[in-house]
Structure formats: structure tokens, C-alpha cells
Symmetry: C2
């Protein structure tokens, strides 16, 4: 049985917008990412996605509204809902989503990660 | 879009060992629980279970070893693995597991919760 220390794992992450897998269960991934700046608008056709903020703040833009998440706050984004994460300052986030989830949905961008690394 | 503040939700929880649902996605539940003392030995036949410690420490006993999780640490317990959570002092934990997960597996105990409340 091997426990995972979330802050230690964040210490291994150098790139922005590049989620790393820190756990797997029931066909789902637990991922960590450091983010700063604007991501691309996208959606996930078949996957609901959970964002939990470990450090900093993250604004998530939707069509017609925005939600700002602070440390210790989470949001579930239902499948099919177009969204764009934006972080003014660097934020550390935990993601929980199915292993089938594509990073930027069906959008291709310079930010797109095709295969998520396990750390 | 409604965000969830984890500490505010913990403020609503009065009972020990009584997980409350704070989010649902992809057939999985996100639950919070306050725990103190010894839980019962049990396993979940078909469900992997994630424990993340929000406050305090939680020891999880397995056959032949124990793992102590501190704040910001998590552990995935694979399906079928017998385990017993024990908290010397009150601890606040986040659980991530399939909606089919039974609280104490196939063990019936005074601590068993049959239906999880959403808060």
C-alpha cells in the first residue's frame, strides 16, 4: 500500500497545463496540474470532470457565466459543457475524471497533451 | 454551475463515520466524513476506494501492515482488500468511490450507513 503526498507530487511538476496522473481507480484518473494563463475553450463529450483547487485560484469560464474557485473549493463540470479555465496567477489543481478523457476534448491546440504521464 | 467549499460542507457534518455526498460524476460519489476511533474491518468486492485526508491523521490497517495518512495525503484501496480505518483524534476525510459502494462492505455493524445523505 503506497500513499501519495500531494504536495510532494506537485514538487515534481515543472510544466504548466500538463496534468500528471497520481492515482487510478475504477477507470478514473486522479491528476495534478499547475496552471497559469488561459487554457483553450473545449468540452468532453462523454466525461464529467472534477476540479479541486489545492493552491491559488482558478476561474472557469462558461457560456454566459464564470465561476472562480479558491483553495479548498471544487466544481463538477458535466459532460458536454463548454468551458475554459483561466488562472491569473499560478494555481495548483487536482482533477478527477475518466481515463478516456481527452485533455482539450476534440480541440487540438499547442497545449494539448496526448498521453498523460504518471508520477 | 455551483461550486462546493469543502470546509463549509464539513461544518454541516455532526455525526462521526457518516459520509455525506458532496458531488457526483461518472457514476462515482465524492463524500466527506468526520471520523474518530476504530471503524470495522471490511472490504468492497467490486469498488476501489480513495481516501484523501483534509484534516488530521488516519491510520488504515491492512492484513500485515498499516498506513498512516496525514493532511494532504491520499491512498487508493483496491477492491477486495480488507481494511480498517482508525483515527486517534478526529480526522476529516474525503472519499471518492463508485455510487454502488456499500459503507461497510458486506459487514453489518452499528456504524453501517445504508443510504448516504447529500449535503
Amino acid at each position: 500500500m503506497k500513499k501519495v503526498n500531494i504536495n510532494e507530487k506537485f514538487g515534481l511538476i515543472k510544466e504548466l497545463w500538463t496534468p500528471k496522473i497520481i492515482g487510478e481507480l475504477n477507470g478514473q484518473d486522479v491528476k495534478l496540474a499547475k496552471v497559469k494563463g488561459e487554457f483553450v475553450w473545449h468540452n468532453h463529450t462523454d466525461e464529467d470532470e472534477l476540479f479541486l483547487i489545492i493552491k491559488g485560484s482558478l476561474k472557469i469560464d462558461f457560456e454566459g457565466e464564470s465561476v472562480t474557485l479558491n483553495e479548498g473549493e471544487m466544481l463538477v463540470i458535466p459532460r458536454g459543457v463548454e468551458h475554459r479555465p483561466v488562472a491569473e496567477e499560478e494555481a495548483w489543481i487536482l482533477l478527477f475524471e475518466p481515463q478516456s478523457t481527452k485533455h482539450t476534448g476534440d480541440v487540438k491546440s499547442d497545449l494539448t497533451v496526448d498521453k498523460f504521464e504518471k508520477i
